[in-house]
């Protein structure tokens, strides 16, 4: 390998000459640019006749130096001349990063864009819901067109496959509520009220809510990712050209599957949570399951079950809808699939909790307390 790049200053007929030596390549320039920057004043010529190799970076450094000092380049080999010409042609002002706007206007701009985006998303979701209802109407009028196999397949993926994880989660939540409730209520000598707590809170709220969060993370995200990928690979477009409505073939089975499965899974979750709480009571307070169930039947009104079961399909609709909606919004970019999937989960959980608050007020007003 040739030696590292170097230079010496010489006087030639009263004029200053910079004579380069060694290899003017990226690997060998090292601190040459910094040392060159220290050379001040006019330089008449640059002599390259002692250099043995040169690449574009070497050529660039030589050319920049020549321009700054108004020097002429001599002794360049064939290769060096070609490279110098090449970098000369390529010398145009290029920005490395886009211009930054002042922070104040940028923040305002971002707030505005985010607000507009939120509004657009809400409107888009509404329009998507409408389009899905139209597709549903069409399918009801022509039941033959409905994809039964797709629906059954979704029911299995959304529902049956989720039984294990939802069961485990609910069981543990039941234990936690029972344990925390017992500890706190003991202070008032009212630990038997924990049974009210477990029975009512799981049936009314937690069973369905936790299930909704789990399904949003499990299936809502999967819907968005599946449909988004299908949009990128143009599967959705291919479907349309063949005359198959993506609404009927892709969206409807998915949304229906969450609508159907949410009440079933929510009920199952409540049940397992109550069992978890019951087992904890049995073990720690020695209350036999029979008395636990008897007490449960006395304190939990049947309307609590209705509250949970009425909310569940609405939550399912929200999860399925946002998942499919976000998936269908993907345009041509793999990065968007990730963003849309995240958005689907976040929006689904957010909307579920908002709607849940409305339901709480509603049921209180009609007297199902």
């Amino acid at each position: 390998m040739a030696g590292s790049a170097d230079f010496v200053e010489e006087q030639d007929a009263g004029a200053r000459v910079i004579r380069f030596s060694g290899a003017l390549t990226l690997a060998q320039v090292q601190d040459l640019p910094r040392r060159l920057a220290g050379v001040g004043g006019a330089v008449a010529a640059i002599d390259l006749s002692d250099t043995d190799r040169i690449d574009t970076i070497g050529a660039w450094i030589v050319r920049r130096f020549a321009r700054e000092h108004g020097a002429e380049i001599r002794g360049a080999s064939e290769d060096a001349r070609r490279l110098l010409e090449e970098v000369d042609r390529a010398d145009q002002p290029v920005k490395v990063r886009p211009d930054q706007r002042p922070p104040f206007t940028r923040v305002l701009d971002e707030i505005g864009a985010a607000t507009a985006q939120a509004g657009r998303t809400l409107l888009g979701l509404l329009a998507f819901f409408g389009a899905m209802l139209v597709a549903l109407g069409a399918v009801i009028r022509h039941p033959r067109r409905f994809r039964w196999t797709a629906l059954v397949q979704r029911l299995e993926v959304v529902g049956v496959s989720a039984l294990g994880i939802i069961g485990l989660m609910s069981f543990l939540i039941g234990i936690v509520i029972a344990q925390q409730g017992a500890v706190q209520l003991q202070q008032f000598g009212a630990e038997f009220l924990t049974i009210n707590l477990i029975g009512r809170i799981t049936l009314r709220e937690l069973g369905v809510l936790m299930t909704a969060i789990m399904i949003a993370g499990r299936s809502g995200s999967a819907f968005a990712a599946q449909l988004g990928t299908m949009k990128i690979t143009e599967e959705v477009d291919a479907m349309r050209t063949i005359g198959v409505s993506p609404m009927e073939a892709l969206v409807l089975p998915r949304v229906l599957s969450t609508v159907i499965m949410m009440p079933l899974l929510g009920f199952y979750s409540s049940l397992i949570a109550i069992i978890g709480g019951g087992i904890l009571w049995w073990i720690t307070l020695d209350i036999p399951p029979v008395s636990f169930v008897q007490r449960l039947r006395e304190v939990v009104p049947i309307t609590d079950l209705y509250v949970g079961l009425i909310k569940a399909p609405v939550f399912g609709l929200i999860i399925g809808l946002t998942g499919c909606f976000q998936g269908m919004q993907v345009e041509s970019d793999a990065e968007q699939v990730g963003l849309r999937t995240t958005a689907a989960v976040v929006q689904a959980i957010f909307l579920v909790i908002v709607i849940d608050a409305f339901f709480a007020v509603f049921f209180e007003r009609i007297g199902w307390i």
């Binding site: 990226l26 920049r64 970098v87 042609r89 390529a90 002002p93 490395v96 990063r97």
Partner: protein, 270 residues
């Protein structure tokens, strides 16, 4: 013409074997690439052209065989040990493989920052700037993000990044795929002029017959899990292999040959 016997080859592949589960892609594959040539690698779909390239650049660990680049063995060594070899090659992946969170100019700076962290930021910006222009991108493309570029511009930006370290060896994976004919022709011209000015050796995977005729010094044909033939197109045409005959003598192959003849006539090239 370059005398190949005098110098050792830049890439030397011997007895390469690759398989994915049951499917054997390469078996006892040999290939030499010499300094200063543009070698085109062709073969039907699934013959392992990209796998060959990935094996050479160390992204794929083969089952058997040995690979030397610049005389240094590649296989079975850590990234740190092959750093001197990796500094001397640039790779252009099919889709450009630009880092999506960086601008085009910042993409070009990534290898510079990685291998030469001592360069001043100012010089690095200048290097990125002239590399961007040199690959035929407009100066406005520098501060743009990859998502804002067309397919052809992404490839040029990817090439600018591959050339960032002034490599001696350039790997191009289907550089003209997905480009319109004018863009593809410009890319071919760019590849050849870079080879001529920078003295590059180019390992070029392609399906594009026009590219093969226009810029490749030699063509390596992958079939039956091996490189079945290497040579100029004329040498390959003299062979009696059915795939080669069909590839070059099919209607598309003939059109490409005619086009190249015309081009040479008008340019007065021999």
């Amino acid at each position: 013409m370059i005398d190949f016997d005098k110098e050792p080859p830049i890439i030397r592949v011997r007895g390469l074997g690759n398989s994915f589960g049951e499917q054997v892609v390469h078996e006892d594959l040999d290939l030499d690439v010499h300094r200063g040539e543009i070698i085109g690698v062709v073969g039907g779909s699934g013959t392992g052209k990209s796998v060959l390239m990935r094996s050479i650049i160390g992204l794929q660990t083969p089952d058997a065989g040995e690979i030397e680049v610049f005389g240094e063995p590649i296989l079975g060594r850590d990234l740190d040990e092959t750093v001197n070899v990796r500094k001397q090659w640039g790779v252009l992946f099919q889709g450009g493989a630009l880092f999506s969170t960086l601008t085009v100019a910042e993409n070009v700076q990534v290898p510079l920052k990685e291998f030469y962290p001592d360069l001043s930021p100012e010089l690095m910006n200048e290097i990125a700037a002239y590399k961007v222009v040199m690959t035929g991108l407009p100066p406005e493309a520098g501060p743009k993000y990859p998502a804002e570029l067309s397919g052809g511009m992404k490839k040029r930006a990817g090439l600018a990044r591959a050339l960032a370290l002034d490599p001696q060896l350039l790997f191009l994976d289907e550089p003209t795929a997905g480009l319109d004919p004018i863009g593809a022709q410009r890319f071919d011209e760019l590849t050849r002029s870079l080879r001529d000015t920078l003295g590059l050796t180019v390992f070029l995977i392609t399906h594009d017959l026009d590219t093969l005729y226009a810029i490749c010094d030699r063509v390596a044909v992958l079939a039956d899990r091996k490189v079945i033939a290497v040579g100029t197109i004329d040498e390959l045409l003299a062979l009696d292999h059915p795939w080669i005959q069909e590839y070059f003598k099919g209607p598309r192959g003939r059109m490409a040959a005619i086009a190249e003849d015309r081009r040479q006539e008008t340019e007065g090239v021999h």
